[in-house]
């Protein structure tokens, strides 16, 4: 990933940011024994309140109370263990958009003592196959909107059972029936599914039968679970491009919840918040903020499955007293451009949390002006469950990613792995209870990024006199398209397999809309009649949409180093000159 000599990091004297409020290295006490304990205690406490409300673009909705979350999660856990015969530690892949089924399944998997494998529903079969084989998932829970991907995946993975979810599952009967049929027959979004599956509703009722008839005790599944047991496998490309599972334990995630709580304390009223969950819950950002943090704070998460077009959010925002919006730059910017939002920003809004990509200062300022509330920017990565730094609500500094969370130590390292000189930027290294246990079954990869408990983020940061951090640049060649990591290697591998392609290099270029865009430079084989469109078509077959190069340039040769390594940096510099876009991701 870098040229830095990792052995030297151990000799580095820790130069950690130590804000007065949260001394670095302070132990973070876990508010719960493990995640199932969090679910149970939260659901007991707020039993009759709404925990989740899923809202469709036409305003139809379904509610889940905390009591029902617990009941259904127990049923799903019993289904996994009793009906499907899973054991503690078995992996269950969940591939769902934001819907009422998501929390039930996610919590159900954890309550069964199994490991949750979050999977992007937009993945292609090839990406699914890699992730399921790597994680060794035995069960797949997938939304019917992508049911056509199941059959090709089943043949080539160890998936034994598939649970098919409808977007409207757990809605009340009539709205659910009508909405489902609108989706199926008017929008025609439900493809035929030939693979053997069991419906989510059926899974729940079978689980219920086990609970009632055989008086199964769900709590027993996790009675022996320790905080350091694996809870979630969260896939990320890391720095090398091969998708790897970051092993997040109960402790990692609960610590992050406690750390967020400490940072926002006083601005979140337990049992009274209504956060918008428009970021996908399968992504670590919304997973930890919405599904874990706000949930345990007794909040009512308003779930939106698809924010495209953005007007899909109008009913959700108008019909519910939205008080928090965790989001990314593109979302905030897009909402500000919607007249219905800018004219009548949510009246109960208290604050918003930005992550994923750099928040543009102009967007932050406009948001504050229009909504009268701040966007608190933070920084995190999958490997850190994810939050590392977050601005304090009362001392928010636009342009900064804030201060390290409670119990989180940070260091800046220079190119040689030594502590960067004071005031100089350096690679951000993190140590804290939220740092992952490692990459699933990849000790060498883990050793590359974790040294003596310090996680090397690959991001270059600066730190000011008050301990506030600012991200300067990305060290890796990683391209971030709308918050999605795109690994040039992966895209290059894909294009290289396209008939007629001799050589390829992929770089990221600044893009006004998506932060960065993927650009491919392709050299065709002699005599091959290759077009840019063919390359893009090829990519579309094998890669999720956000990874497909937006621009493909055919050229005679690629710039190379003396040893024949393609110089991406040179291509990028060259392309940036011709590229009229100004201001990069850190703008």
């Amino acid at each position: 990933m870098t040229t830095l000599d990792l052995d030297q990091t151990t000799q580095v004297s820790a130069r950690s940011a130590a804000p007065a409020a949260a001394p670095a290295g302070t132990p973070v006490s876990l508010p719960f024994r493990h995640l199932p304990d969090m679910v149970d205690r939260t659901c007991e406490r707020y039993a009759r309140q709404h925990a989740f409300t899923a809202v469709l673009p036409n305003g139809m909705f379904g509610n889940l109370s905390f009591a029902h979350v617990r009941r259904d999660a127990d049923r799903f856990a019993a289904f996994l263990r009793e009906e499907l015969g899973l054991a503690a530690g078995d992996r269950v892949a969940i591939q769902l958009p934001n819907s009422l089924a998501y929390p039930i399944c996610a919590f159900g998997v954890l309550k069964a003592g199994c490991v949750l494998v979050n999977t992007n529903p937009l993945y292609t079969p090839a990406e699914m196959i890699h992730q399921f084989n790597d994680s060794g998932a035995r069960v797949l829970v997938i939304v019917d909107l992508f049911g056509d991907k199941i059959a090709p995946v089943l043949e080539r993975t160890g998936i034994e059972h598939v649970v098919l979810v409808r977007l409207t599952d757990r809605f009340s009967r009539l709205p659910g029936f009508v909405a489902y049929n609108v989706i199926k027959y008017w929008n025609r979004l439900v493809p035929a599914c030939t693979a053997p599956t069991i419906s989510f509703q059926e899974a729940l009722s079978r689980g219920a039968r086990h609970l009632h008839e055989r008086s199964v005790d769900v709590a027993a599944y996790t009675a022996a679970t320790s905080p350091d047991d694996l809870a979630v496998l969260q896939y990320t490309g890391g720095t090398t491009g091969v998708s790897k599972g970051a092993m997040l334990s109960h402790r990692n995630l609960l610590a992050n919840v406690a750390q967020i709580e400490e940072r926002v304390a006083g601005n979140v009223t337990h049992g009274a918040e209504c956060p918008l969950a428009v970021l996908p819950l399968y992504h670590i950002f919304a997973f930890t903020t919405n599904l874990l943090y706000f949930f345990q704070a007794g909040a009512r998460n308003v779930l939106v499955a698809n924010p495209r077009p953005l007007s899909n959010l109008q009913r959700a925002i108008e019909n519910y007293p939205i008080s928090w919006i965790p989001g990314v730059n593109t979302l905030f910017n897009g909402l500000l451009n919607e007249e219905w939002f800018a004219d009548h920003p949510p009246p109960k809004l208290r604050g918003s949390i930005a992550g994923g990509t750099a928040l543009h200062t102009t967007v932050a300022e406009r948001w504050q002006r229009v909504t009268g509330t701040p966007i608190i920017e933070g920084y995190g990565l999958t490997e850190c469950s994810p939050v590392v730094t977050l601005n304090p609500f009362e001392a928010n500094r636009p342009g900064s990613i804030g201060l390290p969370l409670l119990g989180t130590e940070v260091r800046l390292l220079n190119a040689y792995g030594e502590a960067a000189a004071p005031g100089e930027p350096g690679e951000l290294a993190v140590r804290g209870p939220q740092v992952m246990q490692g990459y699933w079954q990849r000790p060498e990869e883990t050793a590359k990024v974790i040294k003596d408990g310090w996680l090397l983020t690959g991001d270059i940061a600066e730190i000011d006199a008050d301990g506030y951090l600012r991200i300067v640049d990305r060290k890796k060649d990683l391209i971030i398209v709308s918050g999605f990591n795109v690994y040039p290697n992966e895209v290059e591998d894909c294009i290289a397999a396209c008939p007629g392609v001799a050589e390829v290099a992929v770089v990221g270029l600044p893009d006004a809309k998506t932060g960065e865009m993927v650009k491919a430079f392709v050299v065709a084989k002699p005599g091959a009649a290759l077009t840019a469109e063919q390359v893009r078509e090829h990519c579309k077959q094998y890669l999720a949409a956000y990874k497909v190069p937006k621009a493909v340039e055919l050229r005679a040769e690629l710039p190379k180093s003396p040893v024949g390594k393609v110089l991406r940096r040179e291509l990028r510099a060259e392309a940036r000159v011709t590229h009229q876009e100004e201001g990069g991701v850190n703008g």
Partner: protein, 295 residues
């Protein structure tokens, strides 16, 4: 031409449709419409300056006989019809703006309709024309009450609101199709004997209204969505009101002759509006804001 029971049934269905339309609205939508009064003003101007002028110009240009011309003048001086709201809804236009404009133009019709009918009509005929406004008020109430109830229902329960909206939408399409399907065969003899100039006037007044309404709105920068709304509002007139005015003011053969264009207009406007709506809907959908995948 339309039986009593059919009229009642129609009014009832319009009521259900407007209930559904209302269920898609909030008070904020109306605040937004009022926050930008230029859209309302442009709509008002194109309703009462543009349309009467278009009607009069067509009558002159096509050299229509006086009785036919009066019919055209009357239809062009009418306020917006409630069907404009339904088409605006389907076109994904600004429904609150449409409802607001229909309400304003209907209230203004007390003064504006007789004024313009007198000004432009006197060239063709000098007889007294009584504009019966009681039916206008009834029409407005029939339209507005369900809208308000629909809004209230959505506020109380978004699921019931969404179901009503869906029902209203389906019923809207059914009515549009039924109007065309029932009306054409029944009036086939009339359609066969009508000279082309009359067709041109009956179809043209609506289409030219769409065109200029859209053009003017785009010209002053209302934005595409509001421009589609103003266009539909301008071109779609309150046909039933025109008919009742004709039947109230004239008798016998003359009444039939004058009613010709209002009747033909009412048929063709459903067809032309449907076509325009399909186009506007697609364009409005394309103009929605699609941000890239969020994460």
């Amino acid at each position: 031409m339309v039986s009593q029971t059919e009229q009642l049934l129609l009014a009832l269905m319009i009521g259900v449709i407007m209930l559904g339309m209302g269920a898609s609205l909030t008070w904020r939508d109306f605040f937004r419409a009022f926050k930008r009064p230029q859209a309302i003003l442009i709509g008002f101007a194109s309703q009462y300056l543009l349309m009467p002028a278009i009607g009069f110009s067509l009558a002159v240009a096509l050299q229509l006989p006086p009785a036919i011309a009066i019919g055209l003048i009357i239809i062009s001086c009418m306020p917006g019809g409630s069907t404009s709201n339904i088409f605006t809804y389907f076109a994904k236009g600004d429904l609150a703006l449409s409802v607001t404009m229909t309400t304003f133009s209907t209230l203004a019709a007390f003064v504006m309709a007789p004024l313009w009918i007198f000004l432009y009509g006197s060239r063709f005929m000098t007889s007294e024309i009584s504009v019966g406004m009681s039916s206008v008020i009834v029409g407005l109430v029939v339209m507005l009450i369900p809208v308000v109830i629909g809004m209230f229902i959505r506020r109380r329960n978004a699921n019931v609101g969404a179901l009503l909206e869906l029902l209203g939408g389906i019923l809207g399409v059914v009515i549009i199709l039924a109007l065309i399907a029932l009306w054409v065969p029944r009036n086939a003899p009339l359609l066969a004997t009508t000279p082309w100039q009359v067709y041109a006037a009956a179809v043209g007044v609506g289409v030219i209204g769409f065109f200029f309404g859209f053009l003017v709105s785009q010209g002053v920068g209302l934005g595409f969505r509001r421009a589609t709304t103003v266009a539909l509002e301008t071109g779609i007139q309150n046909g039933p009101l025109a008919l009742s005015i004709v039947l109230l003011s004239f008798q016998g053969e003359l009444a039939n002759e004058i009613a010709l264009i209002p009747v033909l207009y009412s048929l063709f406007i459903v067809i032309t509006s449907s076509l325009v709506t399909v186009f506007f809907r697609r364009q409005n959908e394309l103009r929605q804001q699609y941000v890239g995948a969020l994460l």
